[in-house]
Every structure is written in structure tokens, then in C-alpha cells.
């Protein structure tokens, strides 16, 4: 799996270059932005002992401007990846914790915690993630996972 931190570093460097150019030309520069990595990519980053199969797409929540998103799409494409256009529609529990993945001058990348990602998958795409949740339960899911499942009324019986 690709090193996501490198992609966000490249994005940060691009924004920095664009902002230098914008200042020289008296134009408006891009503000700092935060990108939150969700989905399978977040699980991969967490290096859990789970069998993962991932497609080329990356789900994120982000507050960047359109040109910054376009540059991220270009960087992803260079690495055979694609930004999921529906990433911002992904449901995540409010309890989701985001760990730092990359911290640059203009771009901060965070990654969602595995329990929150797995609850999101169990609730919103149970069939597609059936094997993944079964394996997590079999290997001893965390108390936090069970707490979240209770709160969001996830029927864990379907995975056992």
C-alpha cells in the first residue's frame, strides 16, 4: 500500500510553491487545510492484524479549496489511486479519533481510528465488509468497538 504521508507531503510542497507565486503576484494564497483519511486506507495505515483488500480509491473529509483538491487528485493518479468523489458523504461516528499522519505547513493529514472506521463499515456497508468485521470479532474486538456498536445499534450477530 502506498505511503500516504508522502502524498500529503508532496501536496504541502505544492501549496507552498503556489503560495510563494501568489504572494509575488499579489494574488490570494491558499489557506491551511486538513485532510482526514477514512475507510480502508485508514485501516491499512493502522497496520491491524486483519486481512484487507482495498480498491484504488481514497475516502477523505477535507476542507481544502478546489485547486488543492485537483492537485491531490493528480498526485493520487500518478500513484494509480483515485480520490473518491463521494468521500465527504461517508458517515463516521462523532466519537471518531483522528491521529496525525502528516503535519506540514499548509497541509495537515489525519487518519481515523480503526474502531470508528469498522463501526462505520459495519453500519453502512455490512455486506461488503462482512468478512472484515467477522475477523475483527474473531480476533477480539475492543471494548470501544462494542460500546460504539451498542450506541449506534449495529447488529453484530450478522457477522458471527
Amino acid at each position: 500500500m502506498y505511503n500516504w504521508a508522502q502524498i500529503f507531503q508532496a501536496l504541502d510542497q505544492w501549496v507552498a510553491r503556489e503560495n510563494i507565486r501568489a504572494r509575488a503576484e499579489g494574488a490570494r494564497s491558499y489557506p491551511s487545510c486538513t485532510v482526514r483519511v477514512l475507510g480502508q486506507a485508514a485501516l491499512w495505515v493502522a497496520q491491524l492484524d486483519l486481512a484487507l483488500t482495498v480498491t484504488q480509491d481514497l475516502d477523505v473529509y477535507a476542507d481544502y479549496e478546489w485547486p488543492v483538491q485537483q492537485e491531490l487528485e493528480r498526485l493520487l493518479a500518478e500513484n494509480g489511486k483515485v480520490l473518491d468523489p463521494h468521500g465527504r458523504e461517508v458517515w463516521m461516528p462523532v466519537e471518531t479519533r483522528y491521529e496525525p499522519l502528516y503535519e506540514g505547513r499548509y497541509v495537515e493529514a489525519l487518519v481515523a481510528d480503526p474502531d470508528a472506521v469498522l463501526i462505520s463499515k459495519a453500519l453502512k456497508a455490512a455486506q461488503k465488509n462482512d468478512a472484515l468485521i467477522t475477523e475483527y470479532l474473531a480476533k477480539g474486538a475492543s471494548e470501544r468497538f462494542f460500546d460504539l456498536a451498542r450506541k449506534y445499534r449495529v447488529d453484530l450477530e450478522q457477522f458471527a
Binding site: M1, W44, A51, L52, T53, V54, T55, Q56, D57, D63, E65, W66, A77, G80, V82, P85, Q127, K128, D130, A131, T134, E135, L137, A138, G140, A141, F146, L156, E157, F159, A160
Partner: protein
């Protein structure tokens, strides 16, 4: 761990053993190896060896029941990268139906439990990126619009009227997205 949780874990373990057997099945390994080789999927499942030889459609349909992401990619692979697969002389009816729907821009059916909104996005991502099969659409333009198209085609320059329309659509979409992200911030 509560009694309910440990009971759930015990049953999940049994289910996991059955799943592991499917992961070791040569059909699954062949299909996964081919999809990984082509960059369509990445996996950390043990024993998957990249392979360049095409895999049979039957194997792919079976592997798709083990890993739904394979099934999700299959319609796009059938249309954009059929060389990944060994196709039988006669395609299963639902496979022929989904290929026809994608190629002709018809209403796409669900494919073996995968709704079209999940598999259609891959049609533009698999193979030549950003390209989906073109679909014939007809519009009635005023004379002024036709002249505008011709002027734009010459000045841009664009290879065809379709390309002018495509560029205009991309610009409108970019402007709309910029506006909606500003609105969201406000």
C-alpha cells in the same frame, strides 16, 4: 469480556475458519492475483501471487462472492479490460445485460447484489482513466448557439463540438464546486 461478547467471538472464529478456506481456494487466489497485478486491488491476504495470465469468468464470479470488491469491479473490467478474463462463448445472461447497459448508456441493473451506484464509478477508473464509453445524446440548439459552438471550436481550439461542450461542462462543475465549498465555509 461479557458472556455475550465471548459467545460472539467463538461463533465469529468458526466463520473465519470457513472464510480462510475460501481465501486458500485456487479460484480466489488466481483472480485476486490477476486483479492485484493490474493494480485494481491491493491486499495483504497471505499466499496471493501476482499473475499475468487471464482468469476465467466463472472463477471471477465465484471469487466475487468471497470478496465483494471483486464483484464491484467486474462490470468495469468486462467493458474496459476484458483481456483480464477468459470469457466463455456464451455469457451468463446477467453479465451480457450489464455489459450492454454500460456500453449503451442504458439504465444499469444491479449486478449479483451490487447496485449500479457502486460499480458504475469504476467504469471511468478502470483501463483508460477518466474514459467511459461515449453515449449519444441529442440537443436542439438555437442558431446563435451553433455559431457560438463553431467560434469556440476554432478559438479554443477543440477537435469537435463535443469537446467544446465537454470543456464547458467541466468548467461549470469546477465553478459550482468552488462555490459550494465557499458556502460551506460561510
Amino acid at each position: 469480556m461479557t458472556h455475550i461478547q465471548s459467545d460472539l467471538q467463538a461463533r465469529a472464529r468458526m466463520r473465519l475458519r470457513a472464510l480462510r478456506r475460501k481465501h486458500r481456494d485456487p479460484r480466489f487466489q488466481r483472480v485476486m492475483g490477476r486483479f492485484v497485478e493490474d493494480g485494481l486491488l491491493e491486499t495483504n491476504i497471505e499466499g496471493i501471487v501476482r499473475r499475468r495470465q487471464p482468469v476465467s469468468l466463472d472463477d471471477a464470479l465465484w471469487a466475487g462472492t468471497v470478496e465483494p470488491r471483486i464483484m464491484e469491479l467486474l462490470p468495469a473490467v468486462l467493458v474496459k479490460k476484458p483481456r483480464l478474463l477468459r470469457l466463455p462463448k456464451e455469457l451468463p445472461e446477467d453479465v451480457a445485460e450489464v455489459i450492454h447497459a454500460i456500453r449503451h448508456g442504458k439504465t444499469a441493473p444491479s449486478f449479483r447484489g451490487i447496485p449500479p451506484e457502486q460499480y458504475l464509478p469504476w467504469v471511468t477508473q478502470v483501463g483508460r482513466k477518466g474514459r467511459s464509453p461515449s453515449v449519444l445524446k441529442s440537443f436542439r440548439f438555437q442558431h446563435d448557439d451553433v455559431l457560438r459552438l463553431a467560434r469556440l471550436r476554432a478559438s479554443l481550439p477543440a477537435r469537435s463540438d463535443t469537446e467544446v461542450v465537454r470543456m464547458a461542462l467541466e468548467l461549470i462543475e469546477a465553478a459550482t464546486q468552488q462555490r459550494s465549498s465557499k458556502d460551506a465555509k460561510a
